[in-house]
């Protein structure tokens, strides 16, 4: 677990891109279509979900950093 | 005589299609009909409105003036359109998506819930709504609406549309039978 992923539902349009292309299969989709972090421990913090989100609705932060705060 | 209907909701709820089907039904009944809808950026997920005006003489002004019937598929649609109602006009709302409708005659119908239950997706709520309004709208019949649906909806979804319509029709009939129209004051819920 290197990254912490947050999703801003207010901007998310439920397109599914983040979920589909996460190389680690970290994300999944809720019943109403929003992505959610299903397997946080697998996240490498690679950031692909973040840069591929067309709506800037997903944010990845380095996990370590978070810990340090 | 002129009868004004407005269908209001948001993009993706099939408002425009419902309007066209309703208008087509009016034509099949032999009425004069005008149907307009809003185009534009809002069509993408924003608010969507379709108006159908039925008449027994040619329709001059093609936009609604005072609504005889408002169908509101979400809260915003309900809030924003009530001001255009005719005093004795009827409002039908999707009870799953509209909380409050400050109006005299309101029918609260679980349109999208029923659609979801039957088809596992709410987008057929539009046709459920059309079914529901039939018993309350003297200008169209279930026959003309079914025919209109056959004419205007893609063959692939026709069957589902029809069955959604039937669901709505049953709901509507039930409601119609259960309420004395003159007595409606505030909301009636199914």
């Amino acid at each position: 677990m290197k990254g912490r992923v947050e999703i801003y539902e207010g901007w998310c349009k439920k397109c599914g891109i983040c979920t589909a292309f996460c190389p680690q299969d970290v994300l999944d989709t809720t019943g109403d279509g929003y992505p959610f972090v299903r397997a946080p421990e697998k996240c490498t913090g690679c950031g692909w979900c973040e840069i591929r989100c067309p709506d800037f609705a997903i944010v990845v932060s380095p996990y370590e950093e978070e810990q340090e705060k | 005589m002129r009868y004004e209907i407005r269908l209001a909701g948001s993009g993706g709820q099939g408002i425009a299609l419902a309007g066209v089907v309703l208008a087509e039904a009016g034509v099949l009944e032999g009425h004069y009909v005008v149907n307009t809808q809003n185009y534009g950026p809002e069509a993408r997920g924003g608010s969507s409105i379709s108006e159908v005006i039925l008449g027994d003489v040619e329709i001059d002004y093609p936009k609604t003036l005072e609504l005889d019937l408002l169908l509101a598929l979400n809260q915003k649609a309900c809030d924003e359109n009530l001001c255009d109602m005719k005093p004795q006009g009827l409002v039908i709302v999707d009870s799953g998506l509209v909380d409050t409708a400050l109006w005299g005659k309101v029918l609260r119908v679980p349109l999208s819930r029923r659609a979801q239950a039957k088809f596992n997706e709410p987008r057929f709520a539009n046709m459920v709504a059309l079914g529901t309004l039939v018993p309350f709208c003297p200008w169209v019949s279930s026959r003309s609406l079914s025919k209109a649906m056959a004419n205007r909806t893609p063959p692939k979804t026709l069957q589902m549309n029809i069955s959604a319509f039937q669901i709505g029709l049953r709901l509507g009939r039930r409601l119609r039978a259960s309420v004395k129209f003159e007595e409606i004051e505030g909301a009636i819920e199914v």
Binding site: - | V33, V34, T36, G40
Partner: protein, 382 residues
């Protein structure tokens, strides 16, 4: 395209009605470029034309579209295009060409809010003057304006007829409301529509002078490839079609271009009226605004006001005779428009002070309502 059955009532969108009218008029070539709110006309033609052996092509822009339309017409095929404001601006050079070279064609401008990109999805009547004056150099054009779905069908047929009869570009200005709305209509069957064709030469090619006045002002026009090998140019030309700068030849050409229309002005007074005969205040309207105007006038009458409506279907050449006729009996005239006052200027021009000309203008993308017109009528009622 389905046949129109006798007395069958249909629900048609304005754009579809336009396309049907075009096909019924014999249009077999469409070139266009998408633009809101005229795209539906193009899409309908794209669907229908191949089915009737006609040609549809989407060009790279509006300039190219009208170029191709003029070309197809020269090849003998009735042709059209449709666009909206920005594209209509781009077509002006070729409108000028078509009127100089006398190539029949029909151009539909579905008016949306302007200027510039403006309000692409909302109705306006801001291109009414442009339709007449948008292209450079003096030349005549004919401009029609439908106010219902049926009229859009009907006037499209008439547009083709006029363009063929006079060898002139005919412009239909419909507003977004008319193009997008659906309305119940009963369409005439094909055999009920009278169609006109461009005059054809009857002399053998050797005797043919392509721009010589045959008396009617409209020279006969063969199609390319029929054996009449003649020259077409946008330069001022002599009766053979060759470039000239001789004053007499140029003067004759210009006079003929104008006279072929102006001699027939009496045939171009197309209007509907309602309570206009004894009206003290007359409303003059066109396009979708004629509809709230009609309602307002009816309501006005109910209230005892002697108000009337004249709805113009031909905007250009301006229907001077008709309008003057009605002005004579009124003391005030109201011209409601979805622009800052365009056709009202013409009403003022021909009015010459006979009565007071008032305007009611709206350019915020919304329709003028019957209530607004009625209020104004009550306000100005003498």
């Amino acid at each position: 395209m389905k046949k129109n059955k006798r007395n069958e009532r249909l629900l048609l969108q304005g754009s579809e009605a336009c396309a049907r009218g075009a096909l019924q008029a014999g249009c077999r070539f469409y070139a266009g470029y998408p633009i809101t709110p005229a795209t539906e006309i193009m899409e309908a033609m794209a669907w229908e034309l191949p089915r009737v052996g006609g040609v549809f092509i989407q060009m790279e822009d509006e300039i190219a579209s009208l170029g191709a339309v003029i070309g197809a017409s020269l090849a003998g095929v009735k042709s059209m295009t449709a666009t909206s404001g920005p594209g209509f601006s781009l077509m002006q050079e070729h409108i000028s060409f078509a009127s100089m070279a006398e190539v029949p064609c029909v151009i539909v401008d579905v008016m949306r809010g302007g200027p510039s990109t403006g309000l692409p999805t909302l109705a306006a009547q801001g291109d009414v003057m442009q339709a007449r004056w948008g292209a450079h150099g003096d030349h005549p054009v004919i401009v029609l304006a439908p106010s219902s779905v049926y009229e859009f069908f009907d006037l499209t047929i008439k547009a083709f007829n006029l363009s063929e009869r006079y060898r002139i570009p005919v412009i239909l200005v419909a507003d977004e409301m008319i193009a997008h709305m659906r309305e119940s209509v009963i369409l005439p069957r094909a055999e009920e529509s009278e169609l006109e064709e461009r005059p054809r030469p009857t002399v053998p090619p050797e005797w043919y002078a392509p721009y010589k006045d045959p008396g009617t002002g409209v020279p006969p026009m063969p199609a390319f490839g029929e054996g009449y090998r003649y020259h077409v140019t946008g330069l001022a030309h002599d009766i053979r079609g060759y470039p000239t700068i001789r004053r007499d030849e140029v003067g004759e050409l210009m006079a003929r271009l104008f006279n072929k229309i102006s001699k027939d002005l009496h045939l171009l007074q197309w209007f509907d009226s309602c309570y206009a005969e004894d009206a003290v205040v007359t409303v003059i309207a066109y396009g979708s605004v004629a509809r709230p105007a009609l309602r307002a006038v009816k309501r006005g009458r109910e209230k005892g006001l002697k108000v009337g409506l004249v709805k113009l279907k031909v905007l250009w050449p301006f229907m001077r005779r008709t309008v003057m006729g009605f002005l004579a009996t009124s003391t005030k005239v109201l011209v409601p428009e979805m622009n800052m006052g365009q056709l009202s200027r013409e009403v003022k021009r021909v009015n010459q002070g006979q009565c007071e000309v008032l305007t009611l203008n709206k350019v915020d993308g919304s329709m003028i309502t019957p209530g607004e017109i009625l209020a104004k009528l009550e306000d100005i009622y003498p």
